[in-house]
Symmetry: C2
Subunit: 191 residues, 2 copies
Amino acid sequence: MARPRSFDPDDVLEIARQVFWQKGFQATSLDEITAASGVAKPSLYAAFGDKNALFLKVLDRYHDGILGWAERVLVQPGSARDAIRQWLIGFIPYCSGEKGQRGCLSVNSLTDGSLDQAAVRKSIERYNRRLEDLLRARLRADRAEFSRGFDPDITAHTIMVVHAGLMALAHQTPDSKRVKAVIDQVMQLLA
Amino acid sequence: MARPRSFDPDDVLEIARQVFWQKGFQATSLDEITAASGVAKPSLYAAFGDKNALFLKVLDRYHDGILGWAERVLVQPGSARDAIRQWLIGFIPYCSGEKGQRGCLSVNSLTDGSLDQAAVRKSIERYNRRLEDLLRARLRADRAEFSRGFDPDITAHTIMVVHAGLMALAHQTPDSKRVKAVIDQVMQLLA
DNA sequence: TTTATTCTGTACTTGATAGTATAGAATGGA
DNA sequence: TCCATTCTATACTATCAAGTACAGAATAAA
């Protein structure tokens, strides 16, 4: 029995994500989000809270999206090798070429010294922990694939490091072939 | 025949580096650098130019420091394996524990979307290129160490990716043992 | 149609910061 | 001692962004 909201919050989060992703948290003003979304500041504040809270919602949404996809890919039947390889290959469009230039919102935020808000750190830590858990679980489950000395725990972490490195260097717009070659080489560790 | 400068520019660059490194470019105000260095803004502007120029000088100085060290370590006698291993091991104090929390100034700047100033990109690209060149040159020179299928070029790039990944994840203050385990595992690729 | 309620848009306040004007201080030479 | 020159410190301006007050618009129920 009141005036309904004139925008879809999820649409605005999607637009805000693009702006934050492109320019980073600090450099993004709410006026830019207003301009991009057509939603004025008071409505943004009413719907999402202040700038920090809005960013946190955007980041969580971003994490959920990637985690959902990872859960699907990393649990598929077949060998652990193939599942993990496919998972890494799936990042290539996002860490090479023009599109890769923005890198990964999560890695960008992690390396942003101005974002020491505890909540942002927590969100990223949780995200990384869950990804690594998925990798480790799969490697442990299919341990029979690998040689005797194989260590699923360290390997899971190494893959996380490689993933973060690819996303960091994505800002230099590497060629997708180059990225693929790195992934192929790292996959040698799963043996 | 005029009043001499009352500060050593190199000292100020060192202090500015610490502040920029801790908080990032955007979040660092010149007032903070003034407070940390004791040098007032007009003197900073006279000596270094505006904030962008100051940051660029800081970043170049940072790059030169690491490159100097890399040149020494990566050219030392013995096997390429040992040289590269030692080089990676040398980063451990900077990408683990309390001290590692700030990460790497170069990686942090690379992933900072607000820093699309061409000059900063160039500086980082040049730095990464020179590091990768050093790695590649050493791997090529000692190719005899490795098996027939070994590819020095891709391996050099993979090491750069791992390096960037370690520096990105450094912000989560990993245990140094964990970092060392990753390095040990990646060194398996040099065989 | 009226009304309570919630949303929206304009315009404002407040605070922070990049960059600078200007006056005065410190130096080496005449 | 005095002066030309260059540096320094205070204080200022201008700009920009976060957050908000308030008036008016839109809805559903009565």
